[in-house]
Assembly symmetry: C2
Homo-oligomer: 379 residues x 2
C-alpha cells in the first residue's frame, strides 16, 4: 500500500477538507490516507471546538484511513516547528507523499528556502515588528515574493524540512478552492473553519458546509471552548508565580513576563487582557501560544526535552489504516502506541496528558488515560 499524508487541524472537519483529501488521492494515486492532527489545542494556541476524539471520528468517516496525534510540543508552535514535528512523524510512518492546500501551488518553494540561507540575522532585531514582517522584508528583497497566507508559510516550512533532513518525501500542493482562510461568511457548501466556528459560537445555521454527522455534533456545542473560560487559570498563574519563574516559561523573552503579570493584575476578562497585551512586536498567535505555555507551565528545559522525544499516538483507524500500520510498523523508528498507560502519563506523554486535563475544563471527559483509539472497522 502507498500512503499520502496530510497535516491537519480539522477544527472542525468541513467540506473543504473532504475536497482536499479527494484531490490528494487523485493526484498521488495513493490507496491510504494518513492525517497527522493537532490534539485539543491548535497551532494558534486555542482550544479546539470539539475534542480530538470527535474530530478523529469525523475524519475517519470522511475519507481518512489513519489519524495520529501531533504532540502539543509540535502542534502549538510557529509554522517551522509545527511542520518539523508533523513531517518527522509522517516520515517515520513511511509516508512518501505529503499533500497540502496551497494558495500558490506553482511557486518554487525550493528557491525561496535557498534564498533564506543568505538572510542577514542582524536584521531581525527590530523590537517594533514581528518576526514574520522582518522575514518577509528580506525574502521580498531577495526573491520578490512575500509569504502572507498561512498555507504559503506552511508550504515553505514543509519544503525546508524535506530539504534539510533529506526526507524521501514528495510534496504535493493542491490549489485551495472556495473561501479564503480569514473569510467569516458562509457561502454554499464551502466555508473556512474559522467561519464555521464563528457560526457555531453565534448559533447560526451551518448550511451544508460540514458533513452531516459533524453538523449534529456541532449543533450540540453549547459553549464554544475558548480562552474566556480558561482566563481565571491563566490570570491566577500570572499573578501568583514570581516573575523569575514566569521568565523561565518556554519562549518568554524581552521582559514579556513583566508585561503579562502587570496586565493580568489589571484585567478581569480575556478579551481585555489580550488587547492590553498586544504590541507591534508580537502577533496574536504568538501571544495565545504564550498564554498556553504559561497555563501548562512549560519551561524552556521541559520543551527541549519533549521535542527530543517524539512519539506516535494513534487516535484512530479504519481497516485500510490498520492494514497500513501493520505493513509499516516494523520500520517505524519512534515509540508508537494506541493507549496511554499510567507510566506514559507520567513520562513520555506527560505534556499531552496535562493539555488533556486542561481541556477537561470544557467537557469533563477524561481525554487520554486508557482511552482506546477510534476504530471504524468492517468485518
Amino acid at each position: 500500500m502507498q500512503a499520502v499524508g496530510m497535516v491537519v487541524e480539522y477544527n472542525p472537519f468541513h467540506n473543504g477538507h473532504r475536497y482536499l483529501l479527494h484531490q490528494a488521492c487523485q493526484k498521488t494515486g495513493a490507496d491510504v490516507t494518513v492525517a497527522v492532527m493537532s490534539g485539543n489545542f491548535t497551532q494558534r494556541g486555542e482550544p479546539t471546538i470539539v475534542d480530538k476524539w470527535t474530530r478523529t471520528h469525523a475524519a475517519l468517516e470522511n475519507g481518512v484511513d489513519l489519524v495520529v496525534e501531533l504532540p502539543i510540543f509540535s502542534a502549538v508552535q510557529p509554522a517551522h516547528r509545527f511542520a518539523a514535528g508533523a513531517l518527522a512523524i509522517l516520515n517515520a510512518l513511511q509516508v512518501r507523499q505529503v499533500a497540502f492546500g496551497a494558495e500558490h501551488p506553482d511557486w518554487d518553494f525550493t528557491k525561496l528556502v535557498t534564498a533564506e540561507r543568505h538572510f542577514d540575522q542582524a536584521e531581525f532585531n527590530q523590537y517594533n515588528a514581528t518576526y514574520a514582517t522582518q522575514f518577509n522584508a528580506q525574502l521580498k528583497a531577495q526573491t520578490g515574493v512575500t509569504l502572507r497566507e498561512p498555507n504559503d508559510i506552511l508550504a515553505f516550512s514543509y519544503t525546508k524540512e524535506v530539504l534539510q533532513h533529506h526526507y524521501p518525501i514528495q510534496l504535493v500542493p493542491i490549489q485551495r478552492r472556495g473561501s479564503e482562510y480569514h473569510d467569516q461568511q458562509i457561502h454554499g457548501r464551502l466555508a473556512s473553519a474559522s467561519a464555521i466556528r464563528h457560526a457555531v459560537a453565534n448559533g447560526k445555521n451551518l448550511g451544508k458546509t460540514v458533513p452531516w454527522a459533524m453538523a449534529i455534533v456541532l449543533n450540540q456545542v453549547k459553549v464554544v471552548p475558548s480562552w474566556d473560560q480558561l482566563f481565571p487559570l491563566l490570570r491566577n498563574q500570572l499573578i501568583q508565580a514570581s516573575t523569575t519563574r514566569l521568565a523561565r516559561t518556554y519562549q518568554m523573552a524581552e521582559g514579556l513576563e513583566n508585561r503579562m503579570k502587570e496586565v493580568a493584575q489589571q484585567t478581569l476578562t480575556f478579551d481585555d487582557f489580550i488587547h492590553c497585551l498586544k504590541t507591534k512586536r508580537y502577533t496574536y498567535a504568538h501571544l495565545l501560544r504564550m498564554c498556553l505555555y504559561v497555563v501548562l507551565q512549560i519551561s524552556e528545559e521541559e520543551m527541549a526535552i519533549r521535542i527530543r522525544h517524539p512519539y506516535i499516538h494513534i487516535l484512530g483507524f479504519n481497516n485500510r489504516g490498520r492494514a497500513y500500520l501493520h505493513q509499516v510498523k516494523k520500520q517505524v523508528s519512534m515509540p508508537i502506541f494506541t493507549k496511554v498507560s499510567q507510566q506514559m502519563r507520567d513520562h513520555l506523554y506527560n505534556l499531552d496528558y496535562r493539555a488533556g486535563k486542561l481541556y477537561q475544563n470544557f467537557t469533563t471527559v477524561e481525554q487520554d488515560l486508557s482511552h482506546p483509539p477510534v476504530m471504524i472497522l468492517k468485518p
Copy 2:
C-alpha cells in the same frame, strides 16, 4: 485612652460578636476597642462570605473603633501561629488587655502552657493521627485536661504567646453564650457564624441573628464564596506543576504533594477532591490551608520571609479609633499604613495582595491597591 483588643474573623459579624464586645468593655473598663481581623480568607483556609471591607464596615457600625488586618501569613495558620501574629500586632498597637470568648474561662491556662514544656517530642510521630490528637493525649496525661473546643485552643495559644514574649498584656476570657461553635441551627438572636453561613448558602431566613445592616448585605450574596469555585485553579496548579515544585509549598510534607496531584487528576469537583484527600493524619482545616498555599504558590522560603516582616494594615476606624491611633502611633514598632501603594503591592504587602486578587474571582472588586480605609467619622 485605654484599649481592649480582640482577635476576630467576623465571618460574618453577628449578635454573639456584639455581646462579646460589650462584655469586653464592661470587664476591662476600656474606652476604645481594637479588632485584629482576618482578611479575605479564614484560619481554616476558606474564602470569607463577604470581603474584608464589608466586614470592617459591619464591625465599625457595631462597637469596634479600629479594625486592622491580620496578614494572611498569620491568619491562615494553625492556632499557635494565628495567635502569635495577632498578639504581636496588638502588642505593637500598645493594647494592654485582650479579650476573647472562651468555653472554659476558669481554666488555668498558664498551668497548661507550663505542662507543654515537658512534652515528649518523640511522641508526635504517629502517622495515623493528627497533631492535635497527639497533643491532647500528652496534655491529658499530665494535667487531666483536653483542649477540644476552638476557643480553648486559642486561649491556650494566647497564653503561651504572652508568657513567651513577656508581653505586658492581660488576657480577659469571656464566657461564651448561646449556640455552640459547630451548631448548624438558628435559634433566636444568637447563632454561630457557621450556622449563619449555612443559612445564607441555602437561602434561609437569618432571623435576628445579625445586625440589620449586615442582614441586608448577606441577603444580596448570590453565591457564597467557596472552594467549589476556586477548584479549577487548584486542580490546574496541582496537575501542571511538577511534584518537585509542589513539594516546596509551605507545610507540604510526608509526600502529600504526590497524593494531592494524584487526587486532582482523578476528580472534577472540590467536594470529591477533599474527601478523597482526607486521611486520619490531617484535619480538614489543615488540608484546606494546604489548598490555599498551593493556589497562592507560597513556598517555605516565602513564608519564612513574610513572617519575619509583619505590618499593620488599617482597614477602618471611627473617631475614637482615629484618636487612639494618633495617641499610639509614635510607639508602634511595625510598618503601619492605611493605603497599599504600588511599591507595597510588589514587596511588603505582596502576599496579601495576591490573596486579594484570588478573592477577586468572587466579586470582581479590586481589594487592595489604593483602597482607602473605611472611615465612619462624625464631625
